[in-house]
Symmetry: C2
Subunit: 110 residues, 2 copies
DNA sequence: TTCATTAATCGTAACATTGCAATAAACAAA
DNA sequence: TTTGTTTATTGCAATGTTACGATTAATGAA
């Protein structure tokens, strides 16, 4: 049916999935990487950096913004985007806890 | 258009996105968590554990299997699934490198 | 062989995602 | 005000994802 049955899962599982989904598209990965690479805000050159149309980039930025991973501030005619350090940190805590579950239980089976 | 323009991005960015997408659904998160929790293989009770229909679970298992994160072995009438430790490890290396990019550059801006 | 059990596959409906052209909105400069 | 620049929004087409009923395949038990 195309819609996820979120009520079948725990809040934690849904949160993990939401964060993971944010990185489930290479354009959003590229945006985040570019933000870390230039080590400051990105003001306008994202469309040139990534080869997608302006409305498409805008849409990906909106998704990352809605999740709180990035924040934008208006600077004249352009908008400057950067990572939201606190939300990034808490996202990492959630994902790391999940990805590190193999270190708690390390069953060699099969 | 619904299709990702992978050719616009690096191999690394596409790999990160593929792994992240695997965890972009709570059912697949739940499957992985259950595999770690019981600390061994899961033989058949996944449909009861998670509240989705058998074909749906089978589909999610297939995705995780295609990515190499889990592996299944036939045991009589049932199939036993468990994490593939080596592929899990290399997936973690890729995702951790991405998620830890904030520790390399820690620009306070905006 | 026949029956029961379990998992995979097929087919399909409903909804989501991706991408972009066109347009609108917001602002600075002339 | 008008013009140019930049980003957001709208609308839509193409494709992908999710979910499950029905069926098939494979195996063990009777």
């Amino acid at each position: 049916m195309g819609l996820i049955k979120s009520e079948k899962f725990t809040k934690e599982q849904n949160t993990i999935a939401l964060f993971a989904k944010a990185f489930g598209h290479p354009a959003r990965v590229a945006i985040i990487q570019h933000l870390f690479e230039i080590n400051s805000c990105v003001c306008g050159d994202l469309v040139n950096q990534i080869g997608l149309a302006q409305p498409t980039i805008s849409q990906h930025l909106k998704e990352l913004k809605t999740l709180g991973l990035i924040k934008g501030s208006v600077e004249g005619t352009s908008v400057c985007y950067c990572i939201d350090p606190e939300n990034w940190k808490s996202m990492k805590t959630v994902l790391f806890a999940f990805l590190n579950e193999d270190t708690i239980n390390h069953g060699d089976c099969c």
